[in-house]
Amino acid sequence: MVRVVGCYFNTMKLKYKNELIRSMKFLGKKKDTIFIGQSIKFTGNAIYNTLTEVPNKKKIEVPVFEDTQMGMSLGLALNGFVPITCYPRFDFLIVAFNQLVNHLDKIKFMSENQFNPKVIIRTSIGSKHPLNGGVQHTQDYTEVFEKVLTEVKVVKLKEPKDIFYNFKKAYHDKTKCSYLFIEDGDFYNSK
């Protein structure tokens, strides 16, 4: 049993986070993957706790510069890497909207399929329990992103059983498209 801010969770039953850890371990073993984001080498957010099985040499800890991080991820992908680019909260991914929409999502069209970079984006809807992060830390913009993105596939991870399957599918996807995975912070402690 683990005590978290006054609440008790039975860690044995929590599969959601474990499936994320399993998925990251799988991706971390691939030669061409690289993990990029803030708080991926150091504690500070929930996503960090899912990267414990990924060796530090596969991680690029970056400053807070979300849009630059997305552009860097695309640049890494153009030269053969499969970046797993991590945004701890959906609210923070908004700051990277420019590079995501104007570049990553348009590159196949702009390059007439010469470039088919694969970037795997992870973000999470901020949890509301036991602490509510408020309106700037808990938003779910899934529908907005689904409407705007035409090439990047948007996948909401609702159930533990979907997680490993979808990350594995994204990595092996032969159409070489990029993916945006939307996790739910509350599921880390409830599913």
Partner: protein, 195 residues
């Protein structure tokens, strides 16, 4: 590619544009041939990457992209975003958009221990943006193989950079910089075209 070849290419595009055959904006280069010819002597056309802006024709030609291929792309309306994988050339019509991408490319080169470099061509207004300064700082502190070139024509579309920023920032160490006077308008050729 010689100075007159560059000039003639743009004159050819100008003529085609004025005939109404290009149904998209074009941003012609001019008056900066000498500076670019000098800079491109340092570019390894086989291995290096070049990232450019909407005004990219000269950069593309000097990177070794065949003039005929480039011309076809421009006629297809793709002038503002010329991309050629074989020649490691990427351009974008979003101000500052290429800089983070260049940073990622440079990081990948370092991780893979490759010998190549990334060359990034930006205008003087883009140079003043926050995105340039954070990327420059990151690249310098991480010793990434990237070279920035600031092409200062004093204008962003038709807005004088000095009018908006009052004064320009100091060019940081290791950044190439040159000044020139724009030969053509921001886009188009300055004449009325009937499509």
């Amino acid at each position: 590619m010689k100075k007159q070849d560059l000039i003639n290419f743009e004159l050819d595009i100008k003529k085609i544009y004025e005939s109404g055959k290009i149904k998209a904006p074009i941003h012609l280069s001019g008056n900066n041939e000498d500076q670019l010819l000098k800079i491109f002597k340092k570019v390894n056309n086989k291995n290096d990457w070049v990232l450019s802006t909407w005004r990219n024709h000269y950069h593309a030609l000097l990177k070794g992209i065949p003039a005929n291929w480039l011309k076809k792309q421009i006629i297809k309306g793709r002038s503002m975003g010329i991309i050629n994988k074989k020649h490691k050339f990427y351009s974008s019509a979003i101000v500052g958009g290429i800089i983070p991408i260049a940073l990622g490319l440079a990081k990948s080169i370092k991780l893979k221990k490759e010998k190549s470099k990334v060359w990034v061509f930006i205008g003087d207004m883009t140079f003043e943006t926050g995105i340039f300064h954070e990327c420059y700082k990151y690249s310098k502190n991480h010793n990434l193989p990237i070279k920035f070139v600031v092409e200062d024509n004093g204008l962003s579309t038709n807005t004088p950079t000095n009018e908006t920023w009052i004064k320009k920032s100091k060019i940081p160490k290791g950044v190439y910089y040159y000044k020139y006077k724009r030969k053509y308008p921001h886009h188009g050729t300055g004449g009325w075209v009937l499509f």
